[in-house]
């Protein structure tokens, strides 16, 4: 019980090795970070599926996908939502990249990256750009309720070159 009052460990910063993980993306498929070694990876942690705005962060990334592809980058959305809500959300918003379920043990990967909000039991809105060697090259913790957009990601991907 006393654990919930622990402050969040700091967000992993540029230069750190990106901790590997394996999470479910469909009921019978998992995705591991190391599957993408050799390519840049964008991790987009977000609080919850079904954000009430009409053009949410994940929807924007789906729309910007052709730009991410120019860098051969893979984008992975991560929240503590279960697989079934991820599937429904991805279908509804026509998302074209995997959503990973940091569901059991809850928030374990978010904690590993220093982006788990114990007060809400959700991931913070945080972005990581990881290079082809698995090293974090850029990270951003977005203030509550602020959609961090795609610009910082694209700039970080440009700097990988």
């Amino acid at each position: 019980m006393s654990k919930s009052s622990d402050p969040r460990s700091p967000i992993l910063a540029a230069g750190a090795k990106a901790p590997n993980f394996r999470l479910k993306t469909t009921p019978d498929q998992t995705v591991a970070l190391e599957d993408f070694l050799g390519r840049p990876v964008v991790l987009a942690f977000y609080p919850a599926d079904w954000s009430p705005v009409c053009s949410d962060q994940m929807g924007l990334y789906a729309q910007v996908m052709p730009e991410f592809k120019k860098f051969d980058a893979e984008i992975l959305g991560i929240s503590v939502d279960g697989i079934w809500t991820h599937l429904a959300f991805a279908k509804d918003r026509k998302l074209n990249f995997p959503l990973l379920s940091d569901f059991e043990p809850k928030g374990a990967v978010s904690r590993l990256y220093g982006v788990y909000e114990t007060s809400t039991g959700e991931s913070a809105r945080a972005l990581f750009v990881i290079d082809k060697h698995g090293v974090i090259r850029w990270s951003l913790l977005s203030p509550d309720g602020v959609n961090p957009g795609a610009d910082g990601i694209l700039t970080a991907l440009e700097h990988l070159r």
Binding site: C54, S55, G59, L60, E67, G149
Partner: protein, 189 residues
């Protein structure tokens, strides 16, 4: 990590490529990134009209496309229709009509009747939309928005700086005329 917050800046300056209303040398330039099918943009449409009325010739208003097509299947069609009308000099007429008739999006006939009323070449517009003649321009608008910190619609920029307040008349008027707002407060106290 950001210590002091600075709103993002417009990366593509307002220029000849843009659709704009109001004097080219107006002291205040308001840029909107919008989607014709977005209900929030529909709600912001009369707000902009009101701002234009209040500020008159001191305001230049620019509209750029930011269609979120995965959420709004008619948004690209609408944007291309307005651009095709622009090629015949009737951008703002069709822009306004699209926002005033958002509920008819998907009913191409409804909009074709208005184009005919404007004496536009309805067949030419339909052909250009079908051939996506203006999609690269819309794409350019969209990407300029992405690189300027447009994360959803509507997003406004005031003199090149992103406006993060609510898309409502009073707060926007104050942001557009900071001096005037301060004078008013002063005279009241």
């Amino acid at each position: 990590m950001p210590e002091t917050y600075e709103p993002p800046r417009l990366t593509l300056p307002v220029g000849e490529r843009d659709h704009s209303e109001g004097p080219l040398d107006a002291p205040v330039v308001l840029v909107e990134y919008g989607d014709y099918q977005c209900p929030y943009c529909g709600a912001a449409y009369p707000v902009v009209k009101r701002l234009q009325k209040e500020l008159g010739s001191t305001l230049r208003f620019v509209f750029r496309n930011f269609p979120i097509t995965n959420a709004h299947p008619q948004a690209e069609w609408a944007a291309e229709t307005a651009e095709a009308a622009a090629a015949e000099g009737k951008f703002w007429e069709v822009h306004d009509y699209l926002y005033e008739n958002q509920r008819f999006l998907g009913d191409a006939e409804h909009f074709a009747r208005y184009e005919a009323k404007l004496k536009l070449d309805v067949a030419k517009i339909a052909r250009e939309v079908a051939q996506h003649a203006f999609s690269s321009r819309i794409e350019e608008d969209f990407l300029s928005g992405v690189r300027s910190g447009v994360n959803g619609t509507p997003t406004f920029f005031i003199n090149g700086s992103r406006y993060d307040g609510p898309p409502e008349v009073q707060p926007m008027l104050e942001a557009l005329t900071p001096g005037r707002g301060a004078d008013r407060r002063k005279s009241r106290s």
